[in-house]
């Protein structure tokens, strides 16, 4: 990397980013779309799109955590990556303190990036095996012209000790560490530029139970100390409940339900959320009350079902269809199974709207009250 090292006073001179707009949330995502083209044939013509993210909006206030859950392939990782411009967005905007993150380029973009960082799922694949930990942590400091020489070494040492590693480890290579230690290094790297916002993309999914709790505690401590806001992406609902203030549930590129963590878990409105919650095996000796087993699998995001994307797997629409008159229902076919569903569910996409319960509890379902 041959990025010129800027002098330290660079930080003070630059009048960038400008002071934040009043009462703008730290992060605001508006109607984000990320489509991946499907190319076929000799001329690689675009024959369709994988709609990985299909109209996602949310806000995260400073120091708060939004949990993003869903099954694999629902687009939750793509949301995180698109927000940091690791994947180009098709449309929509991401604002950081009221500044449109997608409108900048070059050095302004780089300076804005300081404030938004990411921790990846795979602690092995996300660390360069040929760099020592010290060099890896020093690189962002050099690139952004924050520190050089002794000052830089001191900062690396304090980062390492902050995430619970011995500062003498700076001269070691990634393969010398265990999975949990590597994830600590990943977190230290994200912290190096003192960001206000970190995307945590499944940070504990690859870790053992006893290590997972250490990392979750570390993330919680950092949040308390530094007021960092997180977008916490995970598929484990118990972990998400533990760390999040608000939780959004994604299905096929859309948010289908969003509420405060306590509200969502105690009073789920969307049938998909209910099914997800009831699918979790509970570590308890008491027999669980009831379980909704979802039939089938997540449909392909290249060819999502019409109307509400969840309707072919939804038990609520079938239950309502059984009670409703023939005029309001339709017979559809999905994965070789014929089912009767409400007409509205397979013709119109439900909007994300306020449901009964706490203010801010929104769900995208025609049938949930």
């Amino acid at each position: 990397m041959t990025t010129p090292v800027a002098p330290i006073e660079y930080r003070q001179q630059a009048g960038f980013p400008p002071p934040p707009a009043k009462d703008a949330p730290l992060i605001r995502v508006r109607d984000l779309h990320t489509f991946f083209p499907i190319r076929r044939g000799l001329l690689s013509r675009t024959v369709g799109y994988v709609k990985a993210v299909n109209g996602v909006s949310f806000e995260i206030a400073a120091g708060k955590t939004l949990g993003l859950v869903g099954e694999s392939g629902c687009g939750k990782t793509t949301v995180g990556r698109t927000m940091l411009r690791l994947v180009p967005a098709t449309s929509g905007s991401v604002e950081y303190k009221g500044l449109d993150f997608f409108a900048f380029s070059g050095s302004e973009l780089r300076r804005l990036r300081r404030h938004m960082q990411i921790v990846f799922q795979d602690p092995v694949g996300s660390l360069n095996p040929r760099m020592t930990i010290g060099n890896m942590l020093a690189e962002p400091l050099l690139v952004h012209g924050i520190a050089t020489g002794r000052e830089k070494d001191d900062m690396v040492a304090s980062l390492l000790s902050r995430v619970g590693l011995d500062p003498s480890y700076a001269s070691r290579y990634p393969h010398e560490f265990s999975g949990g230690q590597r994830q600590r290094i990943g977190i230290a790297r994200a912290l190096a530029l003192s960001p206000d916002f970190i995307v945590c993309d499944e940070p504990v999914s690859a870790l053992d139970v006893s290590i997972q709790s250490q990392i979750l505690n570390l993330l919680a401590d950092l949040r308390q100390e530094r007021g960092i806001a997180y977008l916490f992406i995970a598929h484990n609902l118990a972990v998400v409940e533990h760390v999040s203030d608000d939780v959004a549930v994604m299905y096929l590129g859309r948010i289908v339900e969003k509420a405060s963590s306590r509200e969502l878990y105690s009073n789920p409105k969307h049938p998909y959320t209910s099914a997800l919650l009831s699918a979790i095996p509970l570590p308890s000796a008491k027999p669980r009350p009831r379980r909704i087993v979802l039939a089938g699998e997540v449909p392909s995001p290249a060819n999502p079902p019409p109307g509400c994307p969840f309707h072919p797997r939804c038990s609520l629409t079938r239950q309502k269809a059984a009670e409703a008159g023939a005029g309001d229902t339709v017979q559809t076919y999905s994965a070789g199974v014929s089912l009767r569903v409400m007409r509205q569910c397979c013709t119109e996409t439900p909007p994300l709207e306020q449901k009964t319960g706490e203010p801010g509890h929104v769900a995208a379902c025609w049938l949930a009250e």
Binding site: E71, G180, L282, P283, P287, G336
Partner: protein, 393 residues
């Protein structure tokens, strides 16, 4: 499963289907040798599901592989112990006899359904191979058996699916195919090594439900290897917790979850975030699982053990030893550092290996056997595709 008449005054103790007795497995590379499985005793009775729980590197998968003698030798070798299946020692069989056992009497499914299916053969060819190896049937009949077992695991349109290659199927589908293949020869024991770890929760629920219903139909036994305590609670009758090559606790699932005795088991329970329980911090177990090449002396859990630390501070410095760990030094009782506790029956049908569990000093070392079934014989109430009010916990 032999039915026991209700009026019989003495219920005969059923014989275990599989019994591991003091099994130890070693690996040798160059001058180094490690022992990832040490004196493991485990019994599985007909119709029972036994869970082997532990974190990665604790030896649970090596234990499972050694039952089928799938550990490559060298570097692996059996250091001692026996694997009795219906009274026969599998370790003493010839390779030819062992091939008769694999797939037919004992079948296994793996965590990675993609890497355990052969990518260049169709699903049908792979199931038919297993069927023709173990049953004296022709090709057409074998295809019929394959189709039936595909239907049994809930695959729609099995006739066409048999012609598919593994890459044409989704993860959940592949795991169903693995199960179909494993069950095509009606095994008495199914070893499921992390069968749902790579799957989403909703698909996990489908697969576990499938295993439960197939088990009830056929009365087979399952050895379930997992690190997920939730999966254990809902699917197993008996659980054995493994830590650093040894079983440290063994009990019926109900008893284990109500009354975990070993500090490691207790630590695991506290470390997992639970639905509906909002705690600001989790109680983490400090440090990491030790590498099999560098097991600590005495009780292998002592450098991470909260109970040992509290016992040492209660007893005073005379009784304690300073031990260096990767997170600093801790003071633990001499006993924990010097002698490795063996598995003792500390309360009825509950075995633990810890010097400081209540009743441990007076208890005698016995081989853990929990023949009793799950207390609630009623299957979990499952409402397929129907939703009740407030269906979530």
């Amino acid at each position: 499963m032999p039915s026991t008449p209700n009026f019989a005054p003495e219920i005969p103790m059923p014989k275990p289907l599989l019994e591991l007795s003091e099994l130890s497995i070693g690996f040798t590379t160059g001058h180094r040798s490690i022992r990832p499985v040490h004196d493991v005793c485990l019994s599985i009775y007909p119709g029972q599901t036994v869970a082997l729980v532990g974190e990665s590197g604790c030896g649970k998968s090596v234990t499972a592989l050694s039952i089928l003698r799938l550990i490559p030798s060298p570097p692996g070798h059996v250091l001692g112990g026996r694997v009795l299946f219906e009274g026969r020692d599998l370790l003493a069989l010839s390779e030819r006899e062992m091939q008769q056992v694999r797939g037919k009497d004992i079948a296994m499914i793996f965590q990675e359904p993609m890497t355990s299916l052969n990518p260049v053969f169709t699903i049908g060819e792979q199931i038919v191979e297993a069927v023709t190896l173990h049953q004296h049937v022709g090709r057409n009949e074998a295809y019929a058996i394959a189709e039936k077992s595909m239907r049994d695991v809930g695959i729609a349109d099995p006739h066409r699916r048999l012609l598919d290659y593994p890459h044409q199927l989704s993860g959940g589908m592949r795991q169903r195919v693995m199960i179909a293949m494993a069950l095509s020869c009606q095994p008495k024991l199914l070893i499921a090594d992390e069968p749902t770890t790579a799957l989403d929760v909703t698909i996990q629920a489908q697969i576990l439900e499938l295993l439960r219903s197939l088990q009830q139909e056929r009365g087979m036994s399952i050895l379930l290897i997992t690190h997920d305590l939730g999966v254990v609670a809902e699917n197993a009758d008996v659980a054995a917790v493994m830590y650093a090559s040894r079983i440290v606790e063994h009990a019926n699932v109900g008893e284990l979850f109500e009354n975990p005795q070993h500090p490691y088991t207790q630590g695991l329970f506290r470390a997992v975030p639970r639905l509906g329980v909002k705690a600001s911090r989790l109680v983490a177990i400090p440090g990491t699982v030790p590498n099999p090449g560098r097991f600590p002396p005495g009780c292998k859990f002592h450098p991470r053990c909260a109970l040992a630390a509290s016992q040492a501070s209660a007893a005073g410095a005379v009784q304690g030893v300073e031990v260096a760990t990767d997170t600093g030094t801790v003071c633990v009782p001499k006993q924990c550092h010097a002698t490795e506790p063996d598995l003792r029956e500390t309360s009825r049908e509950h075995w633990a290996a810890c010097h400081y569990v209540a009743g441990y000093a007076k208890a005698t070392a016995t081989v853990p056997r929990s023949a009793s079934q799950r207390a609630t014989e009623v299957p979990l109430p499952v409402i397929p595709m129907a939703m009740g009010e407030g269906g979530a916990p």
